[in-house]
């Protein structure tokens, strides 16, 4: 596609439920990143994929968070047993390679845990 696509754009879930957030990167982009944006916190790095492998998962806040990428393309971020503090905008970005070409961001998924 023309840009990075994320779905859903908004998600309201009850505390304790699992959620899946999807990211479709730009075709041909090998690097994919997940970030979390909270009010006043800037962009918090979660995980980085190069192809299907994740060499850096250091930003995942807890073992309730996991992510995978298949076919070197689509990525899914899963949050299990959601908590209210998980409420944030989850952003996905992709770049052409890992040499710091420009990162292109999606619109994000606004997650609200009630």
């Amino acid at each position: 596609g023309a840009g990075v696509s994320q779905s859903p754009s908004n998600k309201v879930t009850e505390k304790g439920k699992d959620v899946e957030l999807r990211c479709d990167p730009i075709s041909g982009h090998t690097a994919l990143y997940w970030y979390r944006q909270s009010l006043g916190q800037g962009l918090e790095f979660l995980i980085y994929f190069q192809g299907n492998s994740a060499p850096d998962k250091s930003g995942l806040p807890s073992d309730r968070f996991s992510a995978e990428r298949t076919g070197g393309s689509v990525s899914t971020l899963t949050i299990q047993r959601t908590q209210q503090e998980d409420s944030a905008v989850y952003l996905c970005a992709s770049s052409r390679d890992r040499g710091f070409a420009e990162a292109f961001f999606g619109q994000g998924t606004r997650l609200t845990v009630v």
Binding site: L43, F45, Y48, D56, L91, A93, A103
Partner: protein, 114 residues
């Protein structure tokens, strides 16, 4: 650990005023530096980037930034702001330590009064 500091969290200016947003980073190696902008309701987009060469970088919409290695700074400037520049601005450094990822500052919210 690498980090990025943006000292101005909120800035309010009148149209035609000059703008300078501070950005300092903490990283000892070769750096790639970026400014991203997020207009209200839109996704993050690249304003400008520095990889090497001329330390004065020009970006879109009349923005520029100067890389000063000795000060670990990459401040964003615009001689005359417009109401349409109202947005949140993020400074980022591309980290090559370990794995490739972008480290963002906490952002500066700019409001330009018409």
């Amino acid at each position: 650990a690498q980090s990025v500091s943006q000292h101005n969290h909120h800035v309010i200016l009148s149209e035609a005023a000059s703008l300078e947003l501070g950005c300092n980073y903490s990283y000892g190696g070769t750096v790639n530096l970026f400014w991203y902008v997020q207009y209200p309701g839109q996704h993050l987009q690249l304003l400008l980037k520095y990889f090497s060469g001329d330390p004065l970088v020009k970006g879109i919409k009349g923005f520029e930034a100067e890389f000063i290695k000795s000060k670990f700074s990459f401040n964003l400037r615009k001689p005359s702001v417009q109401w349409s520049d109202t947005a949140e601005y993020f400074c980022a450094v591309g980290s090559t330590s370990g794995t490739y990822k972008y480290i963002f500052g906490t952002g500066t919210r700019l409001k330009v009064l018409a």
